[in-house]
């Protein structure tokens, strides 16, 4: 009986000239929940693919359950009890739950014909393992994300799994669903299952794992039991940088000053009777969970959702925001919730993405756009904000999540807004870039910009904002500021 479920040593792997893994070690004890942490592009996905036999490493040894493998193939890995639950769950949305659960197993047994009874038996066995209550005949596409994940988990358990690898399993889940997932992981652990949990979210890592390995740019940085890890160390190992905590500012006194944005009893589909004031130089948070109306509020303030009641004042004068153009004219800019589908033109060059909102001011005589002025504008912002790229004529796709977000920010800032609304400013952004973005927002507020941060990430709101309004079920449920504005209070208020 080997003590270690998995022991890989000195794994190297390059693609073309890029060294994705530069000698990674990873040891997972039997029955533990091990966390693999690291920022985007650190080699997490590559090492998972090596362990699951998808990639052959250039160098290094792989030992699973005490047995060494020379050329590990995907079927070897499955036979050895390794199951990967991918971020997209690897399911077939068009097939029924039953087929999704049984398909891989029947296929692996190299059967040629479909026996519906056998399919159902396998499926029933699978859902029983985690007491998952689901209609086996439902089409998977009609189910919520959390259920899709449970399908992937119960399917993985079918194959006599000994080590389950979960690749960032919590990305698309609500807080409640995450709790349910963690309960299931705890249950599996009781039964002796080894779990490799891939994540870069601090709180989750501390909550679920027994030990942790941190990777950075293809190298091991640190491995230790979880109780030896602290938040500061974790951040340092992940990024290789030390961060000063953003100082909590005293609540500034805006008494007697005209607010930059004032909203009175605003109602639109999704929220009702929202009132608040936002001054120049202030960072105000709107905290709320999915469905609390926070996103709708941000859309209404940007002219994308028509309010049916209430009043909006900008800089003291009442305005009607019937379109995005109206909002832009008033000096409002929005960083949308999903930069990939709502914000960026991914295949287009970085500079065009930055310049696109400033086209009117860049256009020369006769309304023709000069490429040189686009380039000039973009170059300035790329330098100011610190977008990490060699060349801003490359497509935005080539950037990491954090740098893409900086591009969206640069575009908004290039229009010289008075009010900057950010919906989920650091979703899918790694810690280093998140820190940069927070610093930038603080300094913009310092220069007098009014900033509205809309988010469900309570830690972010607590760290970044001077004051926060809590939204729940489409209404304002409270307000926090000063020392009261912390993770715990916010979390308690939003749930």
């Amino acid at each position: 009986m080997a003590e270690n479920m998995l022991c890989v040593k000195n794994i190297k792997k390059s693609f073309g000239g890029v060294h994705a893994l530069k000698g990674v070690d990873l040891t997972i004890k039997k029955g533990e929940t091990h966390c693999l942490a690291g920022e985007n592009g650190c080699g997490k996905s590559t090492i998972i693919k090596v362990i699951s036999g998808f990639y052959q490493p250039d160098e290094g040894t792989i030992e699973i359950d005490g047995k060494s493998y020379e050329n590990l193939t995907t079927s070897d890995a499955i036979a050895a009890g390794i199951q990967v639950i991918y971020q997209d769950f690897s399911i077939f949305p068009n097939l029924t739950v039953m087929e999704n659960l049984a398909f891989n197993q029947v296929l692996a047994e190299k059967k040629k014909f479909v026996n519906k009874k056998e399919f159902r038996k396998i499926a029933e066995e699978a859902v029983k393992k985690i007491n998952f209550d689901v209609d086996l005949d439902a089409r998977v596409e009609s189910l919520p994300v959390a259920d899709k994940q449970l399908i992937a988990i119960s399917r993985a358990l079918l194959h006599n799994a000994k080590l389950i690898i979960m690749d960032e399993p919590t990305t698309a889940l609500t807080r409640k669903e995450v709790t349910r997932l963690f309960d299931i992981i705890a249950e599996l652990k009781k039964e002796g299952m080894t779990v490799l949990f891939v994540s870069h979210k601090l709180d989750e890592v501390f909550e679920i794992s027994d030990s942790i390995t941190v990777l950075r740019s293809g190298e091991n940085v640190h491995s230790c039991p979880i109780h030896e890890m602290t938040e500061e160390k974790f951040t340092y190992y992940m990024t290789g940088r030390n961060f000063d905590a953003i100082p909590q500012k005293e609540v500034p006194d805006f008494e007697g000053k005209e607010p930059m944005l004032k909203v009175q009893d605003l109602s639109a589909p999704g929220f009702e009777n929202v009132s608040f004031e936002l001054h120049g130089g202030e960072v105000l948070g709107i905290a709320g969970q999915l469905g609390s109306g926070r996103t709708e509020l941000s859309l209404a303030l940007y002219g994308m959702l028509k309010p049916y009641g209430g009043t909006i004042w900008i800089d003291g004068s009442e305005v009607k925001l019937n379109s995005v153009a109206d909002a832009q004219k008033m000096g409002i800019a929005l960083v949308p919730e999903d930069r990939l589908t709502e914000g960026l033109f991914l295949p287009q060059p970085i500079y065009k993405n930055i310049a696109v909102a400033s086209m009117d001011s860049l256009a020369g005589k006769g309304g023709f756009l000069k490429e040189s002025s686009e380039l000039e504008l973009s170059q300035g912002w790329v330098e100011d904000i610190g977008v990490a790229t060699k060349d801003h004529t490359l497509p935005v796709m080539t950037l990491s999540g954090g740098n893409q977000q900086k591009v969206v920010l640069a575009r908004c800032l290039a229009t010289n807004p008075k009010v900057l609304i950010l919906n989920g400013p650091t979703v899918g952004v790694d810690i280093g870039a998140k820190y940069d973005i927070h610093q930038l927002l603080r300094s913009l507020a310092g220069q007098g910009m009014a900033i509205l941060v809309v988010s469900d990430d309570v830690a972010e709101v607590a760290a970044l904002c001077d004051r926060a309004i809590i939204m729940k079920g489409g209404r304002v449920a409270g307000e926090l500021d000063g020392a009261d504005l912390n993770d715990e209070n916010l979390y308690g208020a939003t749930v």
Binding site: F54, S90, F92, N94, L95, L107, E141, L346
Partner: protein, 337 residues
């Protein structure tokens, strides 16, 4: 049971059936000629060839790769087999085998470019269509051709004949009907009860997942185009048998109506979803409309307007349904393997 009824009502096929019934009632009331034995028989007769083509369209859409080459594969392989059949005085079975073989070969060309070079299937099949047409009319200078004797004899065999006592009009169900039924039965069994068949659906649902599950994605996709070639060739010969002559000019252009019928029957152009039942219903509906508008005394030109309108409304219904199903993969960015 209640659950079954509910899920049935949600399916596109159900709406198509409703539209068919509504049309039938209207035509019956207006002309009194719909529910006559000869009209119904004529309808079934007219949908044999488009019905077979519909299997090709279904397979290609479900596995995510539009195929528009089937009418010209049909034309070319039918021509070659008819000519060879005349020359060597072949029997029915060898003639069909030659056609199927040639159809599969052209299908291989489609599959090769689509799978190996990952070219867009619409473009590739448009290309092969054009090449087939060029060979047929340019190289072979194909014209109206008599059928080989043995094939002609079989094509004269009817499995049923009816006569409308009121009008004196008669109609017959040709032997090719058996071929269509056989193809549908085989396709049904393969698509629903074999792992290959389910793999076609799985591949259409999510290609990356299919690959990870261990499906030979490239082989399945290649296979679909080869099989499509074979089925198209069979349809080509059926068409010649039903007109008692091989007529090369009659083939081109059939793809649009067939594709419309298949989409109308609930097949998603984005892949993974579609049933043979839907194909039959969609084909029946469009055949019915094009046949029966004459009974109203509506001109042939208006017939096209009506068909166009049905296609738009019908596809809109299935598109809305697909959207409501909340398909998270629709139009999503490509995933890494």
């Amino acid at each position: 049971m209640n659950k079954k009824v509910k899920s049935m009502v949600k399916q596109t096929e159900f709406y198509v059936l409703c539209i068919i019934i509504a049309f039938a009632v209207i035509i019956q009331i207006r002309s009194g000629q719909f529910l006559t034995s000869n009209n119904l028989m004529d309808l079934v007769r007219s949908m044999i060839v488009p019905g077979i083509y519909a299997i090709c369209a279904l397979l290609s859409f479900v596995s995510t790769g539009a195929d528009v080459s089937f009418p010209l594969i049909a034309a070319l392989s039918a021509y070659v087999s008819v000519v060879l059949g005349n020359k060597w005085n072949l029997g029915v079975v060898p003639i069909f085998l030659i056609a199927i073989l040639l159809g599969c070969l052209i299908g291989c060309i489609n599959g090769f470019f689509i799978v190996k070079y990952r070219f867009n299937s619409l473009i590739v099949t448009l290309g092969t269509s054009s090449i087939c047409s060029g060979i047929l009319f340019g190289t072979f200078e194909a014209g109206r051709t008599e059928l080989p004797e043995k094939l002609y004899t079989v094509s004269k065999v009817n499995i049923a004949t009816v006569k409308n006592s009121a009008t004196g009009l008669g109609s017959a169900l040709p032997s090719t009907f058996v071929i269509m039924v056989a193809l549908y039965v085989i396709a049904y069994l393969v698509l629903n009860y074999t792992m290959i068949g389910r793999s076609v659906y799985a591949l259409g649902g999510d290609e990356v997942s299919a690959q990870r599950a261990g499906i030979a994605v490239e082989k399945v996709r290649f296979g679909v185009f080869v099989v499509n070639g074979g089925i198209a060739a069979i349809a080509g010969l059926c068409y010649a048998m039903m007109s008692y002559f091989y007529m090369p000019n009659e083939y081109a252009g059939a793809e649009m109506l067939v594709i419309a019928a298949v989409i109308l029957g609930g097949t998603r152009m984005t892949g993974g979803v579609g049933t043979l039942r839907g194909c039959l219903l969609g084909t029946f509906l469009l055949t019915m409309v094009s046949n029966s508008l004459i009974l109203f005394g509506i001109s042939v030109y208006w017939e096209k307007v009506v068909i166009g309108a049905i296609i738009i409304v019908g596809t809109a219904i299935s598109a809305i349904q697909a959207r409501n199903a909340g398909n998270p993969f629709a139009g999503k960015k490509k995933k890494e393997a």
